[in-house]
């Protein structure tokens, strides 16, 4: 586990949601009315409850991949925007400030696949490739065109692991060394 991983709350929520689905279906099958009040499971048959829960569980697996990638993408953009400070420190001062400002805005529109290539040297190439595949699968989930062949599939667990490892490697290799900081 990495400290302050922005993906952790999303993954944890997904695991809790799956546990809740199981508890819900067990309560619905027993028609434990004190647990089912003001829910769609009240009065539902076992089959209705199971179908609703399986559909929700499948949706949750797809949605968590969308959420994990969106959060990862935001983290990477903000990390890049941190570099605007280096540009702003240039010469002449006003020009550098304008350039830094423009850079910060432009980064928002960069394609994530190209952004990932910027880290190719410091970060494991396999991780970069897998992150690009996750992006492709994320796009497939979002558009879901049945005519198109399925790209390599991702599980929520592998998505979390790949993107978390990438964040960790970028953080580790991009942190200024103590020697450089004190120089």
């Amino acid at each position: 586990m990495i400290f302050g991983n922005p993906l952790q709350p999303i993954y944890d929520a997904f695991v809790v949601a799956n546990d809740c689905f199981k508890v819900a279906v067990r309560a619905a099958k027993g028609q434990e009315t004190h647990l089912l009040g003001r829910t769609q499971f009240f009065g539902a048959t076992s089959t209705e409850a199971e179908t609703a829960v399986l559909d929700a569980s499948n949706q949750a697996s797809d949605l968590v991949i969308l959420a994990l990638f969106a959060t990862f993408e935001r983290w990477v953009i903000e990390h890049l925007q941190g570099a605007s400070g280096l540009i702003a420190g240039g010469y002449p001062v006003d020009y550098s400030a304008s350039l830094a400002n423009k850079f910060e805005k432009a980064v928002e529109r960069w394609r994530v696949e190209e952004v990932l290539d910027l880290f190719k040297v410091e970060v494991d190439q396999q991780l970069i490739m897998q992150a690009k595949q996750i992006k492709k699968y994320r796009d497939w989930i979002a558009h879901r065109n049945p005519q198109k062949a399925l790209p390599p599939k991702a599980t929520p667990e592998v998505t979390f692991d790949v993107l978390s490892d990438l964040i960790e490697q970028i953080r580790t290799t991009h942190a200024p060394s103590p020697l450089a900081a004190s120089a």
Binding site: F21, V25, K29, D124
Partner: protein, 164 residues
Amino acid sequence: MTEQKVEQRSAMVCTYLDRVEALYRDVQQWCTTLGLIVTQGTVELNEEGLPRYDAPCLHIARDGAHIADLVPAGASVIGAQGRVDLVGRIARQALLFQIGKGPTISKRTVVDGKTTDGGPERPMIPGINGDGWYWLEPPARRAKHVDETLFGDLLRDVSDYDLR
């Protein structure tokens, strides 16, 4: 696409189907022990960069009641060498085929601004030890080899069916 690439992709599908068949042979045996009836079907898979192909699926039942299906999900998956889903009435669990120690990550370090190799590779997913089908335990994300005991647990998990 070159002839060599077509051959490589067809070989990838064949290898995947062999692995799926091997899993199903084990599952047949485990299900017999649990008093479950297994029947086989077929699904068509359409994966990017691979020819369309048919893959076997298994339907698991007891006393006429459907319990779960084993559905091939693809030869081409991220972080593994193939996937089969165990789909029950209330949940789905992914079984992933892994080779050796599974996917590995190399570490880099930056010294004086220059990137250097940071030492030996480490497994991305702990718990993988040898070729086979694995399941990733959600909270810990530790891989567990799919054996008779784990398969029984997963079957209960996806179906909420009392297998005793």
